[in-house]
């Protein structure tokens, strides 16, 4: 290994009320990193930390939940403190995951480098393993950053919406212009290093009509795993939902076709649904937000996940701040979420219960219906459409290709494990 690790003086963390303590013990008040231990939660079961390394982004996606972004990066001291916090807040957990988010994380690549080296080295000495991942739009990737990611085995979650027409419409460059050329240039590089990298597409009413085309496009780019997440903060008209139904039917056929080929693909929402159907157990809310996962923003604030932006509910989902106390009562409420009781009370006799499991994303529930436990109506419609297709796909595989079904189930189980 020959990557130079620059030695940088740590900047102060401004913590309200700490000045008095510094004065009392006579320490230089430039910083007090170990105050991060004031923020350690009572229940030390955090395993994953999402870190906003920057607010800055070179794209201007129309559905972005961060409308008022600033061109600011996390400072190195806060970043390292966040890793120290995770090492302590994880208790006896030995496998830790840190995911870089943004903005576009690669705009703050220098911070990422320092965090990865520091976190890996420190965790190793403490007998823990710290893995790193990055959620990226792929447009700012360089050979240097890719080589760094390869060397430290970083995982990629690639945000991309689909064919150039959709990508450029939904995710244009910030100053205007298409983003798809950069995506097409960099995606193969990522996939050459990590063939299992996941393409994450946001499904909007605008892009619904080419859902299958998008999936085929991802396969042409080299992706073998993908997920289509509906943007529920868009207006879904009945005709849009019909388009989605038709597209999911074709998607099911495409999925089966690829499963039977020599180069099978993974469509995450199909896999999860099939797993639930096969096990005949209701899909539980698998979101770890506020439980094993915590998000830290560039200012060192803790949130249950990246979606709980400061503006949501007057910022009252703030779980704490590095150096300040942690909101254990709020965390306790997250830890004790009881999906069957809390989510499915309003599900009645909905046919999709087995594959849906109720509210999928609490943050979206809050932002759209102001009810932590109840998803917006559009979400329910989309889940029922997906359920119907998953049911059909599962039935077909079970009847005609049981071995293929078994391999799908095994893959899903591995992913869950």
């Amino acid at each position: 290994m020959n990557t130079a690790l620059p030695v940088v003086a740590r900047d102060p963390i401004v913590v309200k009320g700490m000045e008095t303590t510094h004065t009392r013990i006579g320490l230089c008040p430039k910083k007090e990193w170990c105050s991060v231990h004031r923020s350690i939660p009572a229940v030390r079961t955090i395993q994953a930390l999402d870190v906003d390394v920057t607010e800055s982004c070179n794209l201007a996606c129309f559905y972005c939940y961060k409308k008022d972004k600033e061109d600011a990066h996390i400072d190195e001291a806060t970043a390292k403190n966040a890793l120290d916090w995770l090492l302590a807040a994880s208790g006896d957990n030995r496998d830790l995951m840190v995911n870089f988010m943004g903005g576009e994380p690669f705009l703050a690549f220098e911070v990422i480098k320092k965090m990865v080296l520091y976190g890996k080295c420190r965790a190793a000495q403490m007998g823990k393993a710290m893995r790193f991942g990055v959620t990226t739009n792929m447009t700012k990737l360089t050979d240097e950053s890719l080589e760094f990611c390869r060397r430290f085995k970083m995982d990629f979650l690639c945000s991309v919406d689909g064919i150039p027409e959709v990508q450029n419409e939904n995710r244009p460059l910030r100053g205007g212009g298409p983003s798809s050329p950069a995506v097409e240039k960099n995606a193969p590089k990522i996939l050459a290093y990590q063939p299992t990298a996941l393409a994450r597409a946001t499904l909007t009413p605008r892009s619904a009509r080419v859902l299958v085309e998008n999936a085929k496009y991802f396969v042409r780019l080299g992706f073998r795993a993908m997920i289509f997440c509906p943007a529920v903060n868009c207006e879904w008209k009945p005709e849009d939902l019909e388009v989605v139904r038709s597209q999911y039917e074709q998607m099911g056929e495409f999925y089966i076709e690829k499963l039977l080929s020599k180069e099978p693909i993974r469509i995450r929402e199909f896999e999860q649904g099939i797993q639930s159907l096969h096990a005949k157990t209701e899909s539980s809310n698998s979101c770890g937000a506020g439980k094993g996962l915590v998000h830290v923003d560039i200012n060192g604030n803790f949130w249950p996940c990246h979606q709980y932006a400061p503006r949501m509910c007057g910022g009252q989902f703030l779980m704490g701040k590095l150096g300040g106390p942690f909101n254990d009562r709020l965390r306790d409420a997250f830890l004790k979420i009881d999906p069957p009781n809390d989510y499915q009370a309003g599900c009645g006799d909905c046919r999709a219960q087995l594959t849906c499991g109720g509210a999928w994303c609490n943050a979206e529930c809050v932002s759209l219906s102001c009810n932590f436990y109840k998803p917006p109506e559009a979400f329910c419609h989309l889940r029922r459409i997906l359920h119907d297709q998953v049911l059909h796909t599962h039935g077909y595989l079970k009847a005609h290709h049981p071995k293929i079904l078994e391999s799908v189930l095994n893959q899903t189980q591995q992913h869950i494990d």
């Binding site: 690790l5 231990h37 420190r122 190793a124 000495q125």
Partner: protein
């Protein structure tokens, strides 16, 4: 016996006649007095203890939430057995001085053959030799240690060496990253004479060791610091520890009275009372992570254990010390004492007197040796006084009056910390018991509320 201290209630002994049935009103008393916390430090049987705690708290319905410390059950047979088990699972070798490759490999091979079973851990330490002084050769010695484990059934636990940190190699993080077993320590002798905060500030700005330590910690090194406590620095011990925690980005800090460290020589004795006060202040300082400071760490590791423990690897006869000339002793504290010399690994490899190592646990059986330990309610959590203290006393014979002071420096802080830790353990359990009810998140445009969740229908009667 129940003792009240502020808003806390200390129950120090509960025996059979005082089972729950005989204490019907204690929970009322507890609430009436508005007690916030309670400590139960000695109970005869676990079930009695559980029942008693439940009655006393009145707030928690499950005994399990308390996880009470179990104290005072086992006696020497089990005690000795646990030491044998410990030795079979975990041993340590300390190399003192600039040891050659032959000495290192011969000593580790001999140790692996003699003690420790399959998959047992061996911790290796280098002391009195700054590997950073000649880092190239230092790395070779570390490699010798790694290589020694390729063909054995034992595993390398940690590999620690101590440096003065006057100079540090570049790209040290790379070396550490590839070999996570390696820990690097610093003995903070410079801070032993630090008497006030101004001096501490001066050290922080001027001392090259502290600067290098900070630089390396900032690049990912997780150092271990041994801080000798002296009469001079005890007054500012909490500030020293806070400063070190910051400089090392929360490396581990082990506080040892300088008088109990053979390498520090026989410094002046100081009052155990003052030392205890300082340690308790550190324990209660929320800026200092509990599990990263010793002897707090030592106590925290033991408070919830229910097996009988030895006070250290050396007391269990599971530690050897090897000098540069190949002389091997039954632990670091016994170096120089002929009675505990096992032999020379280079010259007498076939005639090493391992029985001397075997004799350590019995000779210093903590629960039987010092009279103070026999009646101590913490004897099974503590494991008794460490044999290094007794050996130190033996080495410094001619000053018998020192024994009590040495003993107190070792014992008093542990007792005090055990009591504090138990307080916290019980208080946390009571708090957790109260917080078991669920709360639902209610969202509004302007904020959120947490409101108690209704009990599920089938639990309504509870």
């Amino acid at each position: 016996m129940v003792r009240l201290r502020g808003k806390r209630c200390i129950v120090s002994t509960v025996r059979r006649p005082f089972m729950t049935g005989y204490w019907p009103d204690i929970s009322v008393v507890f609430r009436e007095l508005g007690l916030a916390q309670m400590s139960v430090s000695s109970l005869e049987h676990l079930d009695v203890q559980n029942q008693f705690l439940c009655a006393l708290a009145g707030t928690a319905s499950e005994a399990a939430v308390f996880k009470p410390a179990m104290i005072g059950f086992k006696w020497s047979a089990a005690d000795m057995r646990s030491r044998e088990q410990l030795r079979a699972a975990h041993t340590s070798a300390t190399f003192l001085g600039d040891c050659s490759r032959q000495v290192i490999t011969a000593a580790l091979r001999a140790l692996a053959q003699q003690v420790g079973g399959k998959n047992s851990l061996i911790d290796v330490q280098f002391k009195q030799w700054d590997l950073f002084g000649d880092w190239q050769r230092g790395k070779e010695s570390l490699n010798d240690v790694f290589n020694s484990f390729y063909s054995t059934e034992q595993r390398l636990g940690s590999l620690m060496f101590f440096s003065s940190f006057q100079e540090t190699p570049e790209q040290l993080w790379e070396y550490i990253y590839d070999r996570p077993q390696v820990r690097i320590g610093w003995i903070a002798n410079d801070l032993a004479t630090c008497s006030d905060l101004a001096q501490l500030e001066h050290y922080r700005r001027k001392n090259p060791a502290l600067k290098n330590l900070e630089t390396q910690a900032n690049t990912g090194l997780w150092p271990h610091v041994i801080l000798p406590a002296t009469q001079t620095n005890t007054k500012i011990l909490p500030a020293l520890v806070a400063a070190l925690a910051e400089i090392t980005r929360c490396g581990t800090i082990e506080i040892i009275p300088a008088r109990l460290m053979p390498e520090c020589g026989a410094g002046p004795l100081f009052s155990a009372e003052e030392y205890v006060t300082a340690l308790l202040a550190i324990y209660k300082d929320d800026r200092i992570p509990l599990r990263m400071v010793g002897p707090q760490l030592w106590v925290a590791d033991r408070i919830d254990r229910d097996d009988s423990l030895a006070s250290s690897l050396q007391s269990a006869g599971a530690s050897i010390a090897v000098l540069a000339n190949g002389d091997m002793y039954a632990g670091e504290a016994s170096v120089g004492l002929d009675a505990w010399r096992i032999g020379n690994v280079l010259e007498e490899s076939d005639a090493l007197r391992w029985e001397r190592l075997d004799a350590i646990p019995e000779a210093f059986s903590s629960s039987t040796a010092p009279s103070q330990c026999r009646s101590c309610e913490w004897r099974y959590r503590c494991g008794g006084v460490d044999c290094s203290i007794s050996l130190l006393n033996e080495r410094q014979s001619g000053q018998p009056a020192d024994w009590e002071s040495l003993f107190q420096l070792y014992c008093a802080p542990r007792k005090a910390l055990f009591e504090e830790a138990l307080w916290d353990s019980v208080a946390n359990s009571v708090q957790a018991g109260n917080g078991r009810a669920r709360e639902l998140i209610e969202c509004h445009e302007t904020g959120i509320n947490l409101r108690p969740a209704p009990l599920p229908a089938n639990n309504q009667k509870q």
